[in-house]
């Protein structure tokens, strides 16, 4: 969690220094969700998420250097500078993105679950989305299929209360978000996302259902982001400073977890500050790596488009694939 927090704070400074283009959707405040869930992944479990994807990427074990380089648009980035902030991928770690369209990744997550089941493996797919995504049709189509076909898919709604600048009250009808699962006969539950233990307990339960019984679940995790929807969001129109401050002071997942670990005797103030320093140093190193790395070349623009074009010795088609 500390590594995610410091990585993103460092990336924000780089963005403000105009080193990073486009959007930067920070996960700060939500760290316990990704870390709690992804820390339970087994060999045949898979993760897919939306565009607020830095936390999940670090939680599944991606190296922060190529992550930062991707933000800088450098060729050493995890997607060679072709994806950007919203499109991190690491298939070798069962991490399937990083997707830019709200809710668009959820059918893919259902497909990962389909693939796991089709191949006879005992695993699950965790498909993360924000609270705004639950009003997208593709999400409901995916939930219906998962319920209909008994797919080991866990739909994780990270409810940070605002779909961009629109609060849940102004965007979503009905009593709640996870409750919509009932329409598909899918198991659902809610948990408090600022407590990593509670996140893990909740996820662990539904993971067992998925892995052992091919049962899908919807879990809604109450969380909060301190920063705007993206860094470009002035964050002044739809919520109060007091609300943000209350979360920062009283519910921050890092502060809460530190207090728990201190009470448990696992952590001391000293070891805690060592973890913090190491996380800051790692983020600085990642930024230095990104800074020093080269950009892709014009020749790179047309690579990684077709599998076949990237494997010319195995090409079976003929004719022109590109039109310049």
């Amino acid at each position: 969690m500390m590594r995610i927090r410091r990585f993103e704070e460092r990336s924000l400074r780089a963005y403000q220094g105009k080193k990073i283009g486009g959007f930067l959707h920070l996960y700060i405040g939500q760290e316990a969700v990704a870390v709690g869930c992804c820390s339970l992944m087994g060999a045949d479990d898979h993760v897919i998420t939306a565009y607020r994807d830095h936390g999940h990427a670090i939680a599944v074990g991606m190296d922060t250097k190529p992550l930062m380089a991707e933000l800088y648009g450098k060729v050493t980035g995890c997607s060679k500078g072709k994806g950007g902030s919203m499109h991190y991928f690491a298939p070798s770690l069962n991490y399937w993105g990083g997707h830019g369209i709200v809710g668009g990744q959820i059918p893919l997550g259902t497909g990962l679950a389909y693939g796991v089941k089709y191949q006879g493996k005992k695993g699950a797919a965790m498909a993360f989305m924000g609270d705004g995504a639950v009003n997208q049709g593709a999400v409901h189509e995916a939930m219906n299929l998962a319920g209909l076909w008994d797919l080991p898919c866990i739909f994780v709604i990270e409810n940070n209360r605002y779909s961009m600048g629109t609060s849940q009250l102004r965007s979503s009808a009905g009593p709640g978000l996870a409750e919509r699962a009932a329409a598909y006969g899918i198991n659902w539950s809610k948990c408090y996302g600022h407590d990593i233990y509670e996140v893990r307990d909740t996820m662990n339960e539904v993971l067992q259902l998925a892995r052992n019984e091919n049962k899908p679940s919807v879990i809604e995790i109450d969380t909060y982001r301190y920063r705007g929807h993206s860094v470009a969001d002035p964050d002044k129109t739809y919520r109060t400073r007091d609300e943000i401050d209350d979360y920062r002071k009283n519910k921050d997942p890092l502060i809460a977890f530190k207090a728990t670990l201190l009470a448990e005797g696992v952590l001391t103030e000293d070891s805690s500050s060592v973890i913090d320093k190491e996380a800051r140093a790692e983020a600085d190193l990642a930024a230095e790596f990104a800074e020093a790395s080269p950009y892709p070349t014009p020749e790179d623009i047309q690579k990684d488009v077709y599998w076949e074009a990237d494997h010319p010795d195995q090409r079976t088609s003929q004719g022109r694939l590109f039109f310049n």
Binding site: F89, P91, P107, Y118, A125, A138, A142, T316, G319
Partner: protein, 327 residues
């Protein structure tokens, strides 16, 4: 060699590839128990069982996206769209996810998925069911687009498409499903994507076409040979992307006259692209302006006699061909 209908040829390709590779799975609305809305998949459920031949609800964004996600793990789904016209409700899945995921992951992921189904007008089903989206699809780098015109091509191209490691969009034609043709019995009949086929050789005019318009063009070429004493070459592209432009250039260098025939609305169509490329790369070979026969530029009309008028036909191809030959 067997004589098969286009429908039977598609079915044979599906059956052979389902038998060959256990990762291949056929999914779509009514493909299993109902035996296919157009009976293309008839008998496949009985032969391969419900794990391999899967009925989906009417939920294109959901099931197409599910297929794309499964393909990232190495499953090779062949997804049937009852009509390609329904691609619009799965547009984000098809063209944001399948087309882009390889690029956005820096080449770490590929989607070996086939999406297939009919894409044509001419059956009086109105504007919502008569789209021919090959131009829209082919506009997206990362995807392949195939439009076969004969039974043999349908079989050989579909088998190649299923074995391909990139997303392939395979556009069939309900009017062609009943057309018979000779199909080699070879279980390894593989026609490479991106290889055009000269369906008729000629010396005076090149017709560049694909899909059902190949049949109109061949019929027009026959009339021109018999009644007008001119020799028309018909180039069937078969695949829009990749595109075998060398065969087009070779034919243009021989005939010096070009007519493009397509079941497309003319604005930003496949023919628009072809016309641009021919003038760019073969300007000095041309003895006359390139002409084009397209669908008349309006949403697909229902009224049966008027739909015949709206679509390319033998008469319209004939008139345009004679015009190019005379100029």
């Amino acid at each position: 060699m067997s004589v098969l209908t286009y429908r039977e040829a598609v079915r044979a390709a599906l059956s052979e590839e389902l038998a060959r590779d256990e990762n291949v799975v056929l999914m779509g609305e009514e493909v299993a128990q109902f035996n296919g809305a157009y009976k293309v998949s008839e008998g496949l459920l009985d032969k391969f069982g419900p794990k391999r031949v899967v009925d989906t609800p009417i939920s294109e964004a959901g099931f197409i996206g599910t297929g794309i996600g499964a393909s990232m793990l190495g499953v090779r789904p062949v997804m049937e769209l009852m009509f390609w016209s329904f691609y619009s409700v799965a547009f984000d899945q098809i063209l944001n996810n399948a087309a882009n995921v390889r690029y956005m992951s820096g080449g770490l992921i590929n989607c070996p998925i086939v999406i297939r189904g009919p894409a044509n007008g001419g059956t009086n089903v109105g504007a919502t069911h008569s789209h021919t989206p090959e131009n829209v699809l082919a506009n997206h780098p990362g995807v392949k687009v195939v439009v076969p015109s004969t039974a043999a091509d349908a079989k050989g191209l579909l088998k190649s498409a299923i074995r391909d490691n990139d997303p392939v969009f395979f556009l069939e034609n309900t009017i062609l499903y009943g057309e018979k043709g000779e199909v080699p019995d070879d279980e390894d009949l593989l026609i490479p994507l991106g290889l055009a086929d000269v369906k008729r050789e000629g010396t005076d005019l090149t017709i560049v076409t694909y899909g059902r318009c190949v049949l109109h063009s061949l019929a027009a070429a026959e009339i021109i040979a018999e009644k007008h004493g001119a020799s028309v070459e018909v180039v069937d592209l078969r695949s829009i992307r990749p595109l075998d432009f060398d065969t087009v250039l070779k034919s243009v260098a021989k005939t010096h006259r070009v007519l493009i025939v397509e079941e497309q609305k003319p604005f930003c169509s496949v023919g628009s692209q072809l016309g641009f490329m021919i003038q760019e790369e073969a300007f000095d070979e041309l003895d006359a302006p390139i002409l084009r026969v397209s669908t008349i530029d309006a949403p697909a009309i229902y009224s049966p006699p008027m739909e015949i008028v709206q679509l390319p036909s033998v008469d319209r191809v004939l008139a345009a061909a004679l015009k190019v030959l005379a100029s």
